[in-house]
């Protein structure tokens, strides 16, 4: 287990007087696969938005020694924090290879940028293999199937070499087989990275979560292993339903 952990303290996000995230404390250990669950409007995505700099927040979110809050989005990304979105967001008009190449290149200098790509960077070919899209590398990303786009997004995070992956509903709309493949992929990448997953799919969570945080109305309702959380009566009441 290596990598850096995420420590969130008293995080608050307020929209027009409404506290979408209302004082969340969260610690994700290096190498963990943490699932964030909770009903709609619990503040899961807003939490991720705050950590990645998309929305303004108060409190603290530290990744390793660095404070994330208050920095622009691209700075946070360069510190090794990457995320995906609920609806797969890839560059539809660019090919799979181009998508990955861009993701791999945030640190490139001006001269490299102004030249053409002569060869495929090693990290990119490795990622192409890992996400299983090597054969499709010259197709426009827009023509990929839904699940493949999700993998491409994860692949982009891999070549970006992030240490903290924040995935927003990565298996939504996937078939059963695809879900399993995605889960396995998460296990592999978590070996040297910290992974946070927002998910509604309970089976997927049971199969692949190391630890779980339940959010409700902007606050942490429960935290622990899958079994602990499932046994928590408060969780059962507001979220899982009685039983």
């Amino acid at each position: 287990m290596s990598g850096t952990g995420l420590v969130v303290r008293d995080l608050r996000v307020v929209f027009d007087g409404f506290a979408a995230v209302d004082g969340v404390d969260l610690e994700v250990a290096p190498g963990d696969i943490r699932f964030l669950i909770g009903p709609n409007g619990a503040g899961k995505t807003t939490l991720v938005d705050a950590v990645t700099g998309l929305v303004k927040a108060t409190g603290s979110a530290r990744f390793g020694d660095e404070e994330l809050l208050g920095r622009p989005v691209h700075r946070i990304a360069r510190m090794g924090v990457g995320r995906t979105f609920q609806t797969a967001t890839v560059f539809e008009e660019l090919t799979v290879l181009q998508n990955l190449d861009i993701a791999a290149g945030a640190g490139r200098g001006a001269l490299t940028l102004l030249r053409r790509r002569r060869s495929v960077p090693a990290a990119v070919s490795a990622a192409l293999e890992t996400i299983g899209l090597a054969a499709l590398r010259d197709l426009p990303a827009g023509s990929l199937a839904h699940g493949q786009k999700q993998w491409l997004e994860i692949g982009m995070l891999l070549v970006q070499d992030v240490k903290l992956l924040l995935l927003d509903e990565p298996v939504a709309g996937m078939s059963h087989d695809e879900r399993d493949a995605t889960g396995e992929l998460l296990r592999v990448v978590s070996a040297d990275r910290t992974v946070v997953v927002i998910e509604h799919d309970m089976d997927f969570m049971r199969n692949f979560a190391n630890t779980v945080t339940v959010l409700h109305a902007g606050k942490v309702l429960s935290q622990g292993t899958v079994a602990q959380v499932q046994a928590d009566p408060a969780v059962q009441q507001v979220y899982l339903g009685v039983g």
Binding site: T52, V73, H74, Q98, T130, L139, Q160, D177, E184
Partner: protein, 364 residues
């Protein structure tokens, strides 16, 4: 890759032969100087193709940069005509000035004026771009701001009758770096310079579009936030395209002056700025050659049609905006691509396998 660049080389060669070998002999002096004017407009189009087609920056204010380049060149030519220490003719007439304004003086020196035609527009674009892109002013907001900039610039120039020539602009040039502009041989030389510079700008645009930067620019156009989450600052990416387009427009304006013999505020305002865009849309905004051919075609159609039916031209121009942009957003380039594809169907795209390769890969 190799075959692609061979094709590009051949394309440039054909272009060069047409522009340098055929046009000068096939066209009368008058038509050739018209072509020079169209090619200047095409240079602006190359930049718009880059900024708008690839970068999604609908810049409705290219007239500003065109004008900056044009005025820089015109000021130099006016001062060269007047001779050392003298004031240009219009200033003596309307200016009521005792001496040349300070901001005119450096333009007497070609070593300042020539680079200024390109660098001045780029500097203005850089300042404006850094302000607005960094604050994430984009899309329609950016388009409207750039349009307002064009309007403001025109008003500013018109208001300074004594030092800018006001609505008259700057005109009545005798020479171009010592060469008599009345001489048809020299007019032809201007045409060759224009044609050569256009090819050069096309080469630059092509390099930018095919480079990693070009891919990044398209990525920014399609999803700016996503690029930001990959660790890039999209403001800088857009700034490069915007500044490059501004430089191209400036160079076009600078060459427009010797080619056409006038620069004035009417070339800067809202209407000419948006007319630059229509040629690009017609030709195909995201392609390399589309904007050039579109700009030349639209300018030619305007000259030809407005001679016969002035009202019909306005209708046609309006219809072009509506039909091309609404129903053929890829412009004529997309038609060409479609035809080419139909004629020679590419090898079937690899069937998209739903089988999760990952699973085997990973579990193995």
């Amino acid at each position: 890759m190799r075959s692609l660049s061979w094709r590009a080389g051949a394309g440039f060669a054909v272009g060069a032969v047409l522009l340098f070998g055929v046009a000068p002999f096939a066209l009368s002096d008058f038509r050739l100087s018209l072509l020079a004017k169209y090619l200047c407009l095409a240079m602006v189009a190359v930049g718009i193709g880059l900024a708008w087609g690839r970068g999604g920056l609908l810049t409705l204010g290219q007239g500003v940069f065109f004008g900056l380049g044009g005025y820089a060149m015109a000021m130099h030519m006016k001062l060269a005509d007047a001779g050392p220490g003298e004031m240009p003719d219009f200033m003596q007439l309307y200016g009521q000035l005792d001496a040349l304004p300070w901001w005119w003086r450096p333009f007497a020196n070609p070593a300042f004026a020539l680079p200024a035609t390109v660098l001045l527009p780029m500097l203005v674009a850089f300042l404006l771009g850094s302000l607005v892109f960094r604050r994430r002013v984009r899309g329609a907001y950016f388009a409207i701001l750039s349009q307002a900039l064009a309007a403001a610039m025109a008003i500013l120039l018109i208001g300074q009758q004594g030092t800018t020539g006001g609505t008259n602009g700057l005109t009545d040039f005798q020479g171009f770096f010592g060469y008599d502009l009345d001489d048809p041989v020299n007019q032809r030389m201007v045409y060759f310079i224009v044609a050569g510079v256009l090819l050069l700008l096309l080469a630059i645009a092509r390099q930018l579009m095919r480079s990693r930067y070009g891919e990044l620019l398209v990525a920014v156009r399609d999803s700016e936030e996503r690029v930001r989450f990959l660790g890039y600052n999209p403001a800088n990416v857009k700034l490069v395209a915007y500044v490059t387009a501004a430089g191209m427009a400036g160079l076009a304006g600078a060459l427009f002056v010797p080619a056409v013999g006038i620069i004035n505020p009417a070339l800067i305002g809202i209407v000419p700025s948006i007319e630059f865009v229509i040629g690009v849309a017609v030709g195909g905004r995201a392609s390399l050659l589309g904007p050039v051919l579109g700009a030349v075609a639209v300018a030619w159609a305007k000259t030809t049609l407005s001679e016969e039916f002035p009202a019909a031209w306005t209708y046609l121009q309006g219809l072009l905006f509506v039909l091309v942009v609404a129903f053929l957003p890829g412009g004529l380039a997309s038609v060409v691509r479609l035809l080419r594809r139909r004629r020679r169907p590419p090898p079937d795209p690899a069937p998209v396998s739903p089988a999760p390769v990952v699973a085997q890969e990973v579990t193995a």
